[in-house]
């Protein structure tokens, strides 16, 4: 395993700083428009809540062409007196550099972990560079459980619109919770706090030349922390609003990246998750409050059309993965009208478990396999939107809780199929 190589300037900066208590990492790629706000919020958070701690802001950039690094270097809060009652004792250092290695968020994080290790940091935080809703309190909520609470990993907990985060709500959260037995609500949130010890552990893992370096770092960090027995908590951060994503981003590619990363982790941690049954809540920090959320437009008719196109064209693939029995149930859904369409949660649970088994048995090339899940996922999402249309946020959350329980109650099906069919491979 090769070490991260830094430019001479970065080496010199690390040498000058010597050591640090807190590292705040901000991975970026062409985020000049939004990163200044993130840097200022982080500086304010460090100044307000950790005035006597030595802190470093690390911007690990993927080769931006819009001057992101320059924006980071030039962003600072002009007058701390305007927002603080007391002066900060320790200065806040800044290191901004283009990372080396495979392009991707994982490589950016690796550089941040490496700097945390070299500076012997006690606590680290990573936050996205396109956040618009980040406040100084995020830094407190992500750092304090590590510095003062003895936790190694702090996942975020956001209030989101009931129709947002559907991959998380219908696949990643229920699956991760059922597999590893911890109720971490946003396992791929993107904004995390962790101890220096955990950062060092991440660096020792032999994944930095794999897909983890490109995508899937978020679920990898959460799963690695849980599966290796680190102390995990979550902090309520309020609303998560970030810069509008690329509208051309392909849903099936997104699904492939997240789901394949989760299934890959099932392979490497099979011994950990197979004996676990049920789940337990994790310690939650922060004061929960209601936030106003923007309206979300949805077109369920178009989503259901895509589901029916999948049913008409992907029959052979779906029969091969789901088996004849479950496929017949999916086929029956295709005959329902838009208004009566309802994807049963029991069937959805088996679909995800069957896809996990098919991935394990390598029934199809991974990309084709997971991308063939797209119409089913879209059908399930449309079904949820139709059911939750007139629900309040907490009622929609109760529906997600029911789905999670279904995943937990059906885990025997997954474990038996994994062990029985896995013996053949």
């Amino acid at each position: 395993m090769n070490d991260v190589t830094f430019r001479t300037g970065v080496h010199e900066q690390i040498g000058k700083i010597g050591s640090a208590d807190i590292i705040v990492g901000i991975p970026s790629f062409n985020n000049a428009r939004t990163i200044a706000h993130v840097v200022r919020a982080v500086q304010a958070g460090l100044a307000k809540y950790f005035p006597s701690h030595k802190a470093v802001i690390v911007n690990s950039d993927g080769g931006s062409s819009d001057g992101t690094i320059e924006v980071v270097q030039n962003s600072s809060i002009e007058d701390f007196n305007a927002i603080l009652l007391h002066h900060r004792v320790e200065p806040i250092f800044k290191i901004a550099f283009p990372y080396s290695g495979i392009p991707g968020k994982g490589s950016a994080f690796r550089s941040i972990f490496e700097i945390a290790q070299r500076l012997d940091a006690k606590a680290c935080v990573v936050v996205d560079s396109d956040l618009r809703s980040i406040t100084p309190e995020w830094i407190e909520l992500l750092v304090k459980p590590v510095l003062n609470g003895g936790f190694d990993y702090v996942a975020p907990l956001y209030h989101r619109h009931k129709f947002d985060g559907t991959i998380t709500n219908s696949i990643i959260y229920p699956l991760t919770r059922a597999l590893y037995g911890k109720r971490v609500r946003q396992p791929i949130g993107g904004d995390f706090g962790f101890s220096g010890k955990l950062a060092q552990f991440y660096l020792t893992q032999d994944v930095w030349e794999s897909d983890v370096a490109r995508f899937g770092i978020d679920i990898w960090m959460t799963t690695t922390a849980i599966a290796n027995g680190f102390n995990v908590a979550q902090s309520f951060l309020g609303a998560k609003i970030h810069d509008a994503k690329d509208p051309g981003a392909d849903l099936s590619s997104m699904l492939y990246q997240v789901v394949s990363a989760t299934f890959d982790l099932m392979e490497s941690h099979a011994k950990v998750w197979t004996p676990i049954r049920g789940s337990e809540p994790v310690t939650t920090f922060g004061f929960e409050y209601t936030v106003g959320l923007e309206h979300v437009n949805v077109n369920t008719a178009r989503m259901l059309n895509l589901f029916r196109e999948g049913l008409a064209n992907l029959r052979d693939i779906w029969v091969n993965i789901l088996g004849a029995g479950d496929f017949r149930e999916v086929e029956r859904l295709g005959t329902l009208s838009d208004s009566e369409f309802c994807f049963p949660i029991g069937l959805w649970t088996r679909v995800i478990y069957d896809y996990a088994i098919a991935f394990h048995l390598k029934k199809l090339p991974a990309e084709h396999l997971i991308k063939s899940l797209t119409p089913l996922y879209v059908g399930k999402t449309a079904s949820f939107i139709l059911a939750a249309e007139h629900m309040e946020g907490h009622e929609a959350e109760a529906e997600i809780e029911k789905l999670c329980m279904e995943f937990e109650n059906n885990k025997d099906y997954l474990v038996t199929s994994w062990k029985f069919q896995g013996d053949k491979s």
Partner: protein
């Protein structure tokens, strides 16, 4: 009486002397076989280790070779399977070299012919094998991508691509085997050209109305009635 005995013993002596002359050849064949099998095993071991070192199994997973093997009820790892194929190919070559050591003209002739044809048969088999896997991989990829883009005739498109590629690969394999190459080339040109012309005519003539509608729609501007999705999936 002696004449009679000579009549019996002479052929026996002749057989014995021939056998005596044959024994070294037989031993040579056995030695070649044993040495060949040992070498084949050694090469297999080195090959499998090298394939594992370069992550051949992961590459096979991505390319769909593993999925194809599973379909054929082969549950060994791709690296081990390739190792076994190379091993048995080397055993066959060793067997042929061993047989030629017997110095029997009929067998020599057969082995010589087999050796001349073997590279062609081998490359044709490789073309068919890789072609089959690539055809399945490409057509499946097209099918899934077309469905996810909401294209109504996704399966038809994927099947058409599969057939076109299979025709191309069969023609390549037969050309390699030198089975009536001129006929194969002519047949391939006719079939492939025919398909392209048929598609051009059917889309050209049958699609006039559709094309007109599309142009009119573009000229009239895009309708804004359809609601866009704002869902954040992650």
């Amino acid at each position: 009486m002696m004449d009679f005995l000579n009549l019996i013993l002479e052929p026996l002596q002749e057989v014995f002397s021939k056998f005596k002359a044959f024994v070294p050849n037989l031993l040579a064949m056995l030695a070649i076989l044993v040495l060949g099998i040992v070498l084949a095993r050694l090469l297999k071991f080195i090959l499998v280790k090298s394939l594992i070192a370069i992550n051949f199994d992961s590459w096979s997973d991505r390319m769909g070779f593993t999925a194809l093997m599973r379909k054929g009820d082969i549950w060994a790892k791709p690296s081990a399977t390739l190792g076994a194929i190379i091993f048995w190919l080397l055993v066959i070559v060793t067997l042929m070299i061993g047989l030629s050591a017997l110095k029997i003209p009929a067998i020599d002739n057969l082995v010589e012919q087999a050796f001349i044809y073997m590279p062609r048969a081998f490359s044709a088999a490789v073309i068919l094998m890789i072609g089959y896997v690539l055809t399945g991989f490409i057509s499946q990829g097209v099918l899934v991508a077309a469905v996810n883009s909401g294209y109504h005739y996704a399966k038809l498109l994927a099947d058409a691509i599969r057939i076109l590629l299979m025709v191309l690969i069969l023609a390549m394999a037969m050309e390699q085997l030198q089975i009536a190459p001129s006929i194969v080339l002519a047949a391939f040109t006719i079939i492939f050209g025919g398909i392209v012309i048929t598609l051009a005519i059917s889309f050209g003539v049958g699609g006039i109305d559709a094309a007109r509608r599309m142009i009119e729609k573009e000229a009239a501007g895009k309708p804004d009635a359809e609601t866009k999705d704002d869902i954040e999936h992650l």
